[in-house]
């Protein structure tokens, strides 16, 4: 029992700083991946007013495309490119075939149609790839851990994920605020008839935005699939989190999605670690872990509820 006791004292609430810093990095990493996923969702909702439940399927498409490309070429970089392009193409195709007909319908019709897409994508993927999970792994060079200052040992690949996510955030910000296309996207969000009247091909613009969103979801799926499992149905749990993120951040706001995703990532990771430890201070170990983890899994929804009570339009949403 000696070892167990000393652990409850030392790694209890007074967790070492290195461990805390590592957990913050973990929270950041999961938040940034959520952002890459949620950015597309919020763009599509903000610009076209479309609720796209099939966004998680595009995440899955990306991961499967990456796994297939990696198995075929053996290159992880090519796999990532295949994920990005594959998901964007599939997204473009689906937009022209199905989604385009939904812009003028109400949200219930959109939910129904895109839910059908989830089922079609899931069973289609199973038809082509089988029911067993696929193999996709990080290349050996970046698979191991690296020593950071203050005694943190952290997997290189996760640092790369953080880097890629930040690049995506920067790229999107430049696209939206510094380019002509960005001006059109922002204008389309405010008044689609007006910019159509000004001669912008609104239908091509929508297809393009949808493809960007799909491509980003695919990229997130491939990046995350390499350290998790590539299997049918992998997109739905992430989709729910992505919706929480865009509701917290304010629908349609890229900045909101970024802040929201980081908030959700940190809350989820740190809550899962600290709540059980906190509960251990005043109750028995097993019950504390069980109760603490149960409450921790509710934490992001509580966060969402609190933010919605204080700011119903989300952190960076526009009122009305």
């Amino acid at each position: 029992m000696g070892a167990a006791n000393s652990c409850t004292q030392t790694c209890g609430v007074f967790m070492s700083f290195a461990l805390f810093a590592e957990q913050v990095l973990n929270g950041l990493q999961s938040g940034i991946m959520l952002f890459v996923m949620a950015a597309g969702l919020t763009l599509i909702f903000g610009v076209m007013g479309l609720i796209n439940l099939a966004h998680g399927s595009l995440y899955m498409v990306g991961a499967f495309a990456a796994a297939a490309a990696a198995a075929w070429t053996g290159s992880f970089l090519l796999a990532l490119i295949a994920a990005l392009i594959g998901a964007a193409l599939v997204g473009m195709f689906v937009e022209m075939l199905v989604i385009r007909r939904l812009y003028d319908r109400d949200h219930l019709d959109q939910v129904l149609a895109t839910f059908a897409l989830i089922l079609i994508f899931s069973e289609g993927t199973r038809f082509f790839f089988g029911s067993f999970p696929l193999f996709l792994d990080v290349p050996k060079v970046i698979a191991g851990p690296i020593n950071l200052p203050i005694g943190i040992e952290y997997p290189v690949y996760r640092l790369i994920i953080i880097g890629v996510g930040l690049c995506v955030a920067l790229g999107l910000w430049l696209l939206i605020s510094k380019t002509r296309l960005g001006v059109q996207i922002r204008a389309g969000k405010n008044d689609r008839e007006m910019i159509a009247a000004l001669g912008v091909n609104i239908s091509a613009l929508y297809t393009f935005v949808f493809a960007i969103g799909a491509g980003l979801a695919g990229l997130a799926g491939a990046l995350v699939g390499a350290i998790q499992s590539v299997q049918v149905g992998m997109g739905e749990p992430v989709l729910i989190l992505a919706f929480v993120v865009i509701v917290i951040g304010g629908i349609g706001s890229i900045k909101g999605a970024f802040i929201g995703a980081i908030l959700v990532g940190l809350t989820d990771t740190l809550g899962g670690i600290f709540l059980p430890e906190l509960f251990k201070l005043f109750m028995e170990g097993s019950i504390a872990t069980s109760l603490g983890s149960a409450l921790a899994s509710m934490l992001i929804y509580i966060l969402m509820a609190v933010i919605l009570v204080c700011r119903p339009q989300g952190l960076f949403g526009v009122e009305g």
């Binding site: 999970p133 069980s290 983890s293």
Partner: protein, 382 residues
């Protein structure tokens, strides 16, 4: 060559038996409710394929099997069970993979006088006070493989384990089972979210604890994620787990991250007996892949059923139950017998993940628990 001869001999024997008995009793209708779509479909497909292989090899024409997909949803499983009992008029039900679905279906169908043969799920609630005379589990009671993992950890000299499982009934059974047999200390105990895919936070806690070993129960995709992330984290403590995360269906997706990990199972493809050798060969020939433990469970379940159908009439519930209790069939696990609560009393092995050519698979390295029953058998009164 020897395998082939044995196979021919076995099927010849079975066919003679069939010819003698198939017309003696009424036909049997079997309802199989299992998971064939969605995230956990690999398991259901393996159970179905193993089951149907045995039916096909028996050559019996008096067993009809109706197969339905429960999509891993309890409400759908309940609807399917109602349909099978009321309109299909099945005599025997089987197939359910997940404990929560089994809890939703089994008590109601056995109460209606049907037989239920479980090829997988073995929740503790159905093994103890909630047991039923018409409910038979051919796989294991949920705690079994975890208990074996605890026993193995003792024999491997582990003194301080870090243990984790998802926060749901089978996860709690898992940690309870491990702790029941593990005699060392616990460096930490974590419940993760069901369906969680990122374990960086848990792995950081493992690193910070002073554990000398890790036990985890994370079935399906959760286990793939954990093992890949664990392998790249730089933490190199030995890992022990039940077979579910090292099953043939998912090992290829984990890749080299699983190599060398010890896991506990009541079955493996290298258990050397004629039935198992013939099973592995014929499964490969029929479906073009190696069988998993789920496939072996489906195969054994069907053979148990066939053995009972061959000697008794399903309409005579008492004699059919007696025939099932006798478990007079050749199991892929060697000898097979039921305990007093209709759950297996069996040997559970420790096996290790190895690479054979290009395929990742398991090899038995020793016995974890001999003739093991379960902790709930004494509470069961029919």
């Amino acid at each position: 060559m020897i395998n082939k001869t044995i196979k021919i001999l076995t099927s010849a024997a079975v066919m003679t038996a069939t010819a003698l008995t198939s017309s003696a009793f009424a036909d049997v209708k079997v309802g199989m409710i299992t998971t064939l779509s969605g995230g956990g479909a690999g398991l259901g497909i393996d159970v179905r394929d193993g089951f149907m292989l045995a039916i096909k090899q028996s050559g019996r024409t008096d067993i009809e099997v109706v197969i339905e997909d429960d999509q891993r949803k309890p409400d759908i499983a309940v609807q399917l069970a109602d349909k099978m009992v009321q309109s299909e008029k099945v005599d025997v039900l089987t197939g359910i993979i997940w404990s929560n679905l089994a809890m939703a279906v089994v008590p109601s169908v056995t109460a209606q006088g049907k037989f239920y043969l479980s090829p997988n799920a073995g929740p503790s609630a159905l093994a103890g006070a909630g047991c039923h005379k018409n409910y038979f589990n051919v796989a294991w009671q949920n705690d079994n493989l975890h208990e074996a993992a605890g026993a193995y950890a003792n024999s491997a000299g582990h003194k301080n384990s870090f243990i984790l499982a998802p926060n749901y009934p089978a996860g709690k059974d898992a940690l309870t089972g491990y702790k029941r047999f593990f005699s060392g200390d616990l460096a930490g105990e974590i419940f993760t979210k069901l369906g969680q895919t990122d374990y960086a936070a848990e792995i950081a806690q493992i690193r910070a604890s002073n554990a000398d070993s890790v036990f985890f129960f994370l079935p399906g995709g959760m286990g793939i994620s954990f093992l890949k992330q664990y392998a790249s984290s730089g933490v190199d403590l030995p890992v022990v787990g039940p077979a579910f995360s090292f099953d043939q269906g998912i090992l290829q997706a984990v890749g080299s991250a699983a190599l060398g990990v010890v896991n506990t199972s009541q079955w493996n493809k290298d258990i050397d007996n004629p039935t198992n050798n013939a099973f592995v060969e014929s499964f490969k020939a029929e479906y073009g892949r190696l069988p998993s433990l789920y496939a072996s469970q489906g195969f054994d379940t069907a053979n148990l059923l066939i053995s009972a159908v061959a000697t008794s009439d399903v309409k005579d519930a008492d004699s059919f139950r007696k025939a099932l209790e006798a478990a007079n069939f050749d199991s892929t696990r060697g000898d097979f017998k039921f305990g007093s609560n209709h759950h297996p009393v069996q040997t559970i092995y420790a096996r290790k993940v190895i690479k054979e050519g290009d395929i990742f698979t398991n090899m038995i390295i020793g016995t974890a628990l001999e003739n093991h029953s379960d902790a709930y058998a004494t509470e069961c009164k029919f």
